[in-house]
């Protein structure tokens, strides 16, 4: 267990009437981007809001930049930037006022970077928040979070509802942030393409549980789809680490989460092809596997 983790969660649980977040544990190290992927209602926002001290866990421990949350949230949030697709600025104040307000709170505010982001996002300081579109609201919130140069960025589905161009602009800025390897990002989304592009590590969440957390490359290497054509009358040999099986009769497609050559050796000449899986396919297969209660 690292002592320098920017974000650490250990056994974090939170119960609502119809939803329970259970035993969430992970670390986010400096310089790392952790993508939190899950369907709607998985618990991504609850997890991030607990990391921000907006919600308190029922059990478990949360530390942000070494500070216990939510008790030391005022100290912790001095170096945290938070953007959510849900977040709105103060409606009848201008973006310029927001920039002046935020810069007065954070001594690390970088006015040159803020001006660059204004131009890049095509925002105008005279605009009142009420007149900003959804995409502009997210970009403005991103500007306010990034220009203070925080060590930790917590982003709760920032790309939701944005057009592809706006999403690309945000992702480019995230990459820019990561040139400084002392900073880290926790980034939740159900858009696996975005997560796959910028994340070093990926955590899958579903129905309040953290299903798996691993390096992006490890996910992509371990998961495979194996197409099999059995001999007439032959049965499929028992194989380890098969999480899904589809097809009927002689033609089957097997999905494995621990691909290795030994599996192919057991299948012998029946193997007709081995396909790599996209992160989205891995995510769906992972979720379905756990939902069916077939977790190893």
């Amino acid at each position: 267990m690292s002592t320098t983790a920017h974000l650490r969660m250990r056994g974090v649980s939170k119960a609502y009437r119809f939803f329970q977040l259970q035993g969430i544990s992970f670390d986010l190290e400096p310089g790392e981007v952790l993508g939190l992927v899950g369907p709607n209602g998985a618990g991504k926002s609850t997890t991030i809001r607990m990391a921000m001290g907006m919600l308190a866990p029922d059990a478990g421990e949360i530390r942000v930049l070494g500070h216990a949350m939510p008790s030391a949230q005022a100290e912790a949030k001095r170096d945290v930037g938070y953007v959510s697709a849900d977040l709105r600025l103060v409606p009848n104040a201008t973006l310029g006022w927001h920039m002046a307000f935020v810069s007065s709170v954070y001594p690390g505010w970088d006015p040159d970077y803020a001006a660059t982001l204004l131009r890049r996002f095509n925002l105008h300081p005279q605009q009142t928040a009420r007149t900003l579109s959804h995409g502009e609201q997210v970009k403005a919130a991103m500007l306010l979070a990034l220009a203070r140069r925080p060590r930790l960025l917590l982003l709760d589905e920032p790309g939701n509802g944005l057009d592809p161009v706006a999403r690309q602009e945000l992702l480019t800025e995230f990459m820019d942030v990561l040139r400084d390897d002392s900073r880290s990002i926790l980034f939740s989304s159900h858009n696996t393409a975005d997560v796959e592009r910028i994340s070093d590590r990926i955590a899958f969440m579903d129905r309040g549980r953290l299903l798996e957390c691993s390096d992006r490359e490890a996910f992509l290497e371990r998961w495979r789809r194996i197409d099999v054509q059995l001999e007439p009358g032959a049965a499929l040999p028992p194989l380890p680490h098969i999480v899904a099986e589809s097809g009927e009769g002689r033609f089957r497609t097997l999905t494995t989460n621990r691909f290795d050559e030994a599996q192919l050796a057991l299948l012998g000449g029946a193997v007709r092809g081995v396909q790599r899986m996209s992160l989205e396919e891995i995510f769906v297969a992972n979720v379905m596997h756990h939902r069916e209660g077939r977790a190893p």
Binding site: R49, M52, G53, M54, L55, A56, P70, Q73, A74, E75, A76, K77, R78, V80, G81, Y82, S84, D86, L87, R88, L89, V90, P91, N92, A93, W97, F101, V102, S104, V105, Y106, A129, A141, L144, A145
Partner: protein
């Protein structure tokens, strides 16, 4: 009070500056109308009351309920602020936003009573008690707004506190220590007036203190 609390208070003053200005202007204009006496007094006093009550209700709605509803609360909670600091800043900030136009309204009402020959000076203790009531009433609305988690609860709180204005006028105005001196040539400051003002101060203090003990300790603030 630390830097972030002060900045959040300044934010309230900036955001609600037009509501404050409109409330103060409407109340002062109404007080001026009252000074004319007769029918103008009746119309002016109702307009004066309406301006102060509406200003307070708007501050509570836009300052508390809409911040949650329009999700700008998340932006504020993302600042380096603890929940107790946020609640304190919100309480003091909105109180200041109300207190400034309330002060303008109160001073203009007192001046109208003392300066106008059409209004007996004996009305002054009742006017002072009414001003105190409106301040306490706002503190109760603010307290309810900070506690309310739904728009319905907020609306109910505003309706109930508005109704209490009529109850105050008829109830306190009927107290012999006040009623018997309303038409007097000089104001009569007696134990009844002092008692009413004391109760108002007590309600005011409790309404401001309560959110610091309850809302500020909420584990979930969104």
């Amino acid at each position: 009070m630390n830097g972030i609390t002060t900045r959040l208070i300044a934010k309230e003053l900036h955001v609600h500056r037009w509501t404050m200005l409109a409330t103060a202007a409407a109340a002062m204009f109404s007080a001026l109308a009252c000074a004319a006496g007769g029918a103008a007094f009746n119309v002016g006093s109702i307009a004066w009351l309406t301006a102060v009550i509406a200003g307070g209700a708007m501050l509570a709605i836009y300052g508390v309920a809409n911040e949650r509803k329009e999700r700008s609360l998340q932006f504020l909670l993302a600042l380096p602020v603890s929940i107790p600091q946020y609640v304190l800043a919100k309480t003091l900030g909105l109180l200041l936003c109300f207190a400034l136009p309330w002060l303008a309204a109160s001073v203009s009402a007192v001046v109208a009573v003392l300066a106008s020959p059409a209004i007996p000076d004996g009305l002054l203790p009742f006017v002072v008690a009414m001003c105190g009531f409106l301040l306490a009433n706002f503190a109760v609305v603010l307290c309810a707004g900070l506690h309310a988690r739904s728009e319905g609860a907020m609306t109910a709180a505003i309706i109930v506190t508005n109704m209490s204005v009529s109850l105050f006028m008829f109830g306190v105005g009927a107290l012999p220590g006040i009623r018997n001196h309303l038409g007097a040539e000089a104001p009569v400051w007696n134990g009844t007036v002092a008692g009413v003002v004391l109760v108002e101060l007590l309600v005011f203090a409790i309404a401001l203190l309560l959110p610091q003990l309850t809302v500020a300790r909420r584990r979930d603030f969104l």
